[in-house]
């Protein structure tokens, strides 16, 4: 049985990066595959992460740099896994590296090509709050800081016209419009699935007015609104009117009833939003409409109490599913059953919906590819033997992070370290099988 000495990690968020850094070494190569053109995952979309309120990019950038500069990690951005065959210790995986049309070596990220590109389209990384060009980097501060061309919308690549503006603008001949996808066949000993999660699609809840009413925001939209490298450079201004909100309501547990579980982190990021609002707009009035407050663990209650003092009014509702948001001529009205079941309403300018955490759309496809079971909620199933193991239902394939269920950054990192440990153990015990130490005693140097 041939023994592959390398590992495949799918997803370059904080879980994938931590696991890769722990496993990469002279004796063991790590392939890190990431769907997006940049690494960093969801964490770098938040300006600050709770409970430390530490600047997320300052916390994650050193990890990103370590990954990019580690000679034993081959980072394959803008790529996707297409097939996974074999068994523990001997998987063969095919990876499609999509054409980026910009050379990772030559480009220095000067951004001259963005200005000249005639095509603009919504930037999904920024929750479409801002536009981007056909040749783009998702956000400023992207790592690797090399753009990619959207082949459907580029006039040259979709055959509309012979446009060559970006190529001419590039002083470093980094743009090659004849670039093609590449297929990579990898031999790996183990896999770690760390592809993260998604927030609940709030348009499926018409009662809360998301999509219809411009003043209603999803959590990721508000994160990008507050981000200093975001669409509004961190200024909190309402869509359309551009006005600064005076009264903001944060509605908890949006999608909890539909998903059938509490995601455990929405209360915390809602209170973080209160800190954001009070930081930028000191006189703003903030209301949290909530049922249960879920702030478990030693670090979170202090954070909740620091907000619960004067910064926000906690409004309890006996049934979070019956909260209703409607438009008025001056703004928005939120109607909710109070503690005694009587409907109360609240006039506000802005509503932020604390959406539940759900499996990412591609998780099901990935599970099918990897031949691993999902749990009832659509997350990857682990701990089948009741222990803390991060192994999936298929031997040799492990998982870590929110792809396995909603969790905070601390638990994500803990799962990444556990998965990395199990992979290291598996690989060394594999090596054990082939070169067992004759005396059987543990080799102590």
């Amino acid at each position: 049985m041939t023994q592959a000495e390398s590992i495949l990690v799918i997803g370059a968020g904080i879980a994938g990066m931590k696991a890769s850094l722990m496993l990469a070494g002279p004796a063991r190569k790590v392939y890190l595959v990431e769907r997006l053109p940049i690494i960093g995952g969801k964490t770098i979309k938040n300006e600050e992460s709770f409970p430390n309120m530490e600047c997320s990019t300052c916390m994650v950038a050193p990890i990103q740099q370590a990954v990019l500069q580690n000679p034993h990690i081959e980072t394959l951005t803008y790529s996707a896994v297409e097939s996974i065959e074999g068994s523990a210790g001997d998987f063969s995986v095919s990876v499609r590296i999509k054409a980026r049309y910009v050379s990772l070596e030559a480009c220095i990220g000067c951004g001259m090509c963005f200005e000249v590109c005639p095509v603009t389209l919504p930037n999904e990384w920024e929750e479409s709050l801002i536009e981007k060009k056909a040749i783009y980097v998702p956000c400023s501060g992207s790592l690797p800081n090399v753009p990619v061309i959207d082949s459907e919308r580029c006039l040259k690549l979709n055959g509309t016209e012979e446009c060559n503006l970006c190529v001419e603008s590039c002083a470093f001949e980094a743009i090659n419009l004849e670039d093609e996808d590449r297929l990579l066949e990898l031999k790996v000993g183990a896999l770690i699935l760390a592809t993260g999660s998604e927030t609940f699609d709030l348009s499926a809840l018409p009662g809360l007015g998301y999509g219809a009413l411009p003043g209603v925001y999803s959590p990721m939209e508000f994160e990008r609104l507050f981000a200093s490298n975001g669409p509004t450079m961190g200024e909190i201004t309402l869509r359309g009117s551009g006005a600064v909100p005076d009264r903001v309501a944060i509605v908890h547990c949006a999608g909890r009833e539909e998903q059938g579980y509490c995601s455990g982190i929405c209360c915390m990021y809602s209170f973080k939003f209160v800190r954001f609002l009070k930081h930028k707009l000191p006189d703003v009035q903030v209301f949290n409409i909530h049922s249960d407050v879920c702030v478990p663990g030693k670090n979170y209650e202090d954070f909740f109490r620091s907000v619960n003092g004067g910064d926000t009014e906690m409004l309890f509702t006996s049934s979070i599913a019956d909260v209703h948001v409607s438009g008025t001529d001056s703004g928005l009205r939120v109607a909710y059953p109070d503690g005694g079941g009587v409907t109360a309403d609240l006039e506000v300018d802005m509503v932020i919906l604390a959406a539940a955490i759900i499996p990412a759309p591609l998780t099901a496809r990935l599970a099918e590819l990897a031949g691993v079971e999902l749990d009832d909620s659509g997350f990857i199933r682990t701990s089948l033997d009741g222990s803390g193991s991060m192994e999936t239902s298929r031997a040799g394939i492990f998982t870590a992070g929110t792809v396995e269920g909603p969790k905070d950054i601390q638990s994500t990192v803990i799962q990444a370290e556990s998965a990395a440990g199990q992979v290291a153990f598996l690989m060394s015990s594999m090596a054990d099988l082939t070169e067992r130490d004759p005396s059987g005693k543990s080799v102590k140097s």
Binding site: P62, I108, C110, N299, S387, M390, Q410, Q415, E417, S428
Partner: protein, 557 residues
């Protein structure tokens, strides 16, 4: 080598200064030719130094690195200054280039003329002048740097796990192999720890040939660092033993708060009040919960969030274990009415929802209150709609908060790791390194880190195991920090100032010689001791005062 009059040979230094254009980022703002001329014009300031000064497009690119390597070899450079971007980006890149030549990587210095110069200074002249000052400062500094050599150390891959509960056993199983021995040290007479129910791993741990179990034993002393700890063990019958290991995992679990600690809860010995953990144990052992007089209670109340106010945190697990207990009682004796009184239901994740559904289906009465107080056997409930109601029950089960274990403080002192504001071991970083501590090689698993569920405890244990498995690889050696502090024996008087301020416990007193000594394998080069020494007896390598002041002198000229 140049011969001086009195027959003494004096080393001529050849300093290479390379300015990176970095496309428009640097060359666009700074007039590099003027900078080069400026520096060359003052080269007589340095005695016995020849300056080699060049500019190049992209020093960090492949060809750029090759160019630097050739330049070092061809010019026989003794020192290298690279004026480019932030050390965070390419310090290790250029040290790698030096490593490929025979120029010691510590006789090199990177000067940030991008983030700290061209990107932030609008006026080009000022930026150019500032860049020249930075580079002159670095030349003066690099001339006073000395070569440093990495000293790889052999490591002992074995691990010591303190605490035989769920987390401890999980860590032991995750770590033990033919290549790595695990010493599982448990204070009490049996494994299983505080969670009251027999764990499946217990049998596996006892049968594992690579796990040595020490019952009724505590850790009495520890010195050393990652890869080389010497640990003293003391057993209850006074036997002392010394073992060596490469890592220590603290899995000492936690205790429960005293319910009466909160002002609003008071009951006497005779009242039928049993804390949740106790009730769980009796239920699992006896199969049911009887009153002291042997009869079955008709009404039971489980009170959540007891101690949350006083401890300042929600323990996060009492809701699910309380409701599981309530549902179990209902199943075992349907005629007993069970009421759960709570403030917030903390049931994250899918299994949290299942527990809630199970409790409701088995007929547990759920009452949410703003606050609940207990005197004797009577509860006073402040309902959400503002009304309040007094109800008495045959048995009351308060869910007490999880608090730090008793010997947390003594262990923390022994291992020189700090405690957090609630008294648990303080993690290295709440988000990016929750299992590590400030002492490299010491990890925290389970409720010793803070309140968490049994599953999270086991996950924490495997995370600690992961750190050990990936950092202490049998046969591989670790390279400790090179830029450490050294104490000059000639000058040290052993007054112990530095001993007090060393966070990592890297300095010890050598009373025979009357001086303090740095254990260079433990030292992390933070420089605290260097600042605390009243005399000039300490020196942090690569950051000596001489180097820093000469750089500052240049900047102030």
């Amino acid at each position: 080598m140049s011969e001086t009059g009195t027959g003494k040979t004096e080393m001529t230094a050849r300093v290479g200064v390379y300015l990176c254009e970095c496309g428009p980022n640097i060359a666009g703002k700074i007039d590099l030719d003027k900078v080069m001329a400026d520096i060359l014009s003052e080269s007589d300031r340095y005695r016995n130094v020849e300056l080699v000064i060049r500019r190049y497009g992209f020093l960090c690119s492949g060809p750029g690195k090759q160019y630097l390597e050739d330049e070092i070899k061809e010019n026989g450079l003794t020192h290298l200054v690279v004026a480019a971007c932030s050390p965070r980006d390419h310090d290790s890149t250029f040290m790698g280039v030096c490593a490929r030549t025979d120029l010691n990587p510590y006789l090199y210095r990177i000067v940030n003329i991008r983030e700290q110069c061209s990107w932030v200074i609008t006026d080009p002249e000022e930026a150019t002048e500032r860049a020249a000052t930075y580079i002159r400062g670095s030349i003066s500094r690099v001339l006073r740097q000395s070569s440093l050599f990495e000293k790889p150390l052999e490591i002992n891959p074995d691990a010591v796990v303190i605490g035989g509960g769920a987390a401890g056993m999980e860590a032991a199983l995750a770590l033990s192999s033919d290549l790595r021995r695990v010493f599982l040290v448990e204070k009490s007479a049996s494994l299983g720890g505080g969670c009251g129910i027999t764990m499946p791993q217990e049998k596996a741990v006892i049968e594992d040939p690579n796990v040595d179990i020490y019952l009724e034993t505590q850790m009495s002393s520890v010195i050393g660092f990652l890869g080389n700890f010497e640990i003293g063990l003391k057993s209850a019958d006074g036997k002392d033993e010394e073992i060596t290991a490469g890592a220590i995992i603290l899995a000492i679990g936690s205790d429960y708060s005293d319910p009466q600690e909160s002002g609003r809860i008071s009951f006497s010995e005779s009242d039928e009040v049993h804390i949740l953990a106790e009730a769980e144990r009796t239920l699992e052992a006896a199969g049911d919960l009887k009153l002291r007089d042997g009869t079955m209670p008709e009404t039971i109340a489980v009170v959540h969030c007891v101690g949350r106010e006083e401890q300042g945190y929600c323990s996060g697990v009492c809701c699910s274990s309380s409701l599981k207990l309530a549902a179990a009682i209902r199943r075992l004796s349907p005629e007993t009415a069970v009421t759960s009184v709570y403030r917030d239901l903390c049931l994250p994740g899918a299994d949290g929802e299942n527990v809630l559904r199970m409790a409701r289906e088995s007929g547990v009465e759920l009452i949410r209150t703003k606050g609940t107080s207990l005197s004797g056997m009577e509860l006073d409930l402040e309902k959400m709609d503002g009304t309040s109601e007094k109800r008495s029950f045959d048995m009351i089960i308060p869910a007490a908060a999880i608090v730090p274990a008793a010997d947390t403080v003594s262990l923390a002192e022994m291992l020189r790791i700090p405690l957090d504001e609630h008294g648990f071991f303080k993690e290295a970083h709440r988000m990016t390194d929750p299992a590590g501590t400030t002492t490299e090689g010491v990890f925290i698993a389970g409720t010793a880190h803070g309140p968490m569920s049994v599953m999270s405890s086991m996950r924490f244990a495997r995370a600690c195991a992961g750190q050990v498995l990936t950092r202490l690889v049998p046969g591989e050696r670790i390279v400790p920090e090179v830029k450490v502090t050294e104490i000059l024996e000639a000058y040290c008087t052993g007054c112990g100032n530095c001993l007090d301020v060393c966070v990592y416990g890297a300095i010890y007193a050598d009373t025979d010689r009357g001086i303090s000594v740095v254990n260079e394998a433990v030292c992390r080069g933070c420089g605290n001791c260097f600042a605390s020494c009243p005399s000039g007896a300490l020196r942090t390598r690569h950051f000596t005062n001489e180097q820093i002041f000469r750089e500052v002198d240049e900047a102030l000229r």
